[in-house]
């Protein structure tokens, strides 16, 4: 792009439109976090269910100690990505703050559940948080599978209170499959298509 050429108003407008479109097209690969947390939580739900129901293993909830591992992997990946990131959009920043707030909410919720000793509604609130995170993320990055996943999770959160804790593990697995895993894989496909 040269600089000395005299611009007509139409040419100026074209320059503005072209550059704004170029930044709009820079789709980031956000699928990593959805797939990491999706598969991790899904595996934990199913494993706990199997250990509790079929093996009657008393320490079935120990599977959730894998969550801090997910936290460390996310942090390492995020640090590596921020080094590579050449542009920071307002959408990226909003997503960072949203998920930071949700991560804190998940941790706070664990303490509330431990403190009160009531785990009956634990999954209801976790699913509600998945719904908020995926719905807002989907709207911000304009990705319908995440929006639909989030909306379905709002319904699943309301329905989950009708189930026993054991069956809530399966509802939780279904919720994470719909809101994280399926949209996560579709998001990866979209990113790879865009890269080509």
């Amino acid at each position: 792009m040269e600089n000395g050429t005299e611009l007509s108003p139409e040419e100026s407008l074209k320059v503005i439109q072209t550059m704004i479109n170029k930044t709009k097209d820079s789709v980031a690969d956000d699928s990593f976090y959805f797939l990491l947390w999706g598969w991790l939580v899904f595996s934990c739900c199913i494993t706990q269910y199997v250990l509790k129901i079929y093996f009657e293993y008393p320490h079935h909830s120990a599977v959730w100690f894998l969550m801090p591992v997910g936290g460390v992997v996310s942090w390492l990946y995020g640090a590596k990505q921020s080094g590579k990131q050449k542009v920071k959009s307002f959408v990226n920043e909003s997503l960072e703050y949203l998920w930071m707030a949700l991560a804190i909410s998940f941790i706070v919720l664990v303490f509330i559940n431990i403190g009160s000793g009531t785990w009956q509604t634990a999954f209801t609130y976790y699913i509600l948080l998945y719904a908020i995170g995926t719905f807002v993320s989907g709207c911000l990055i304009r990705f319908r599978p995440l929006i639909y996943g989030g909306l379905i999770n709002f319904v699943l959160a309301a329905v989950s209170v009708r189930f026993s804790f054991d069956n809530q593990l399966l509802v939780g697995a279904l919720a994470i499959l719909i809101s994280y895993i399926i949209p996560g894989h579709l998001l990866r496909v979209r990113y790879q298509k865009h890269k080509k």
Partner: protein, 99 residues
């Protein structure tokens, strides 16, 4: 009465840089160069001009032992860009009325 188009923004590369930065929080010099298809030397001169008039902030730092230059539009830059677009609209509307 037409408003005069801001001479700082009424230049292809500087306008491109401002249009790019207006939509993001911040961008690295290499990213801007890539998106504007400009040479490092030319871009560097134009970035310096935008910085001198206070339209952008330029932060130079080291990241993983490599120099990194990050550019960010300032509130004054946003104001100037908005005024430029408004003036541009006036010219375009006048052009449509004449034709």
């Amino acid at each position: 009465m037409f408003k005069e188009l801001d001479p700082i923004l009424h230049s292809q590369l500087r306008l491109a840089v401002m249009s790019l930065l207006i939509g993001v929080k911040e961008a690295e010099f290499t990213y801007i160069r890539e998106k504007t298809n400009s040479t490092a030397g030319n871009l560097s001169v134009q970035v310096q001009k935008l910085k001198e008039v206070g339209y952008i902030d330029v932060v130079k730092q080291f990241k993983d032992n490599y120099p990194q230059t990050t550019c960010k539009v300032t509130p004054k830059g946003i104001e100037a860009f908005e005024a430029y677009v408004k003036a541009l609209q006036q010219y375009l509307q006048a052009g449509q009325q004449q034709s």
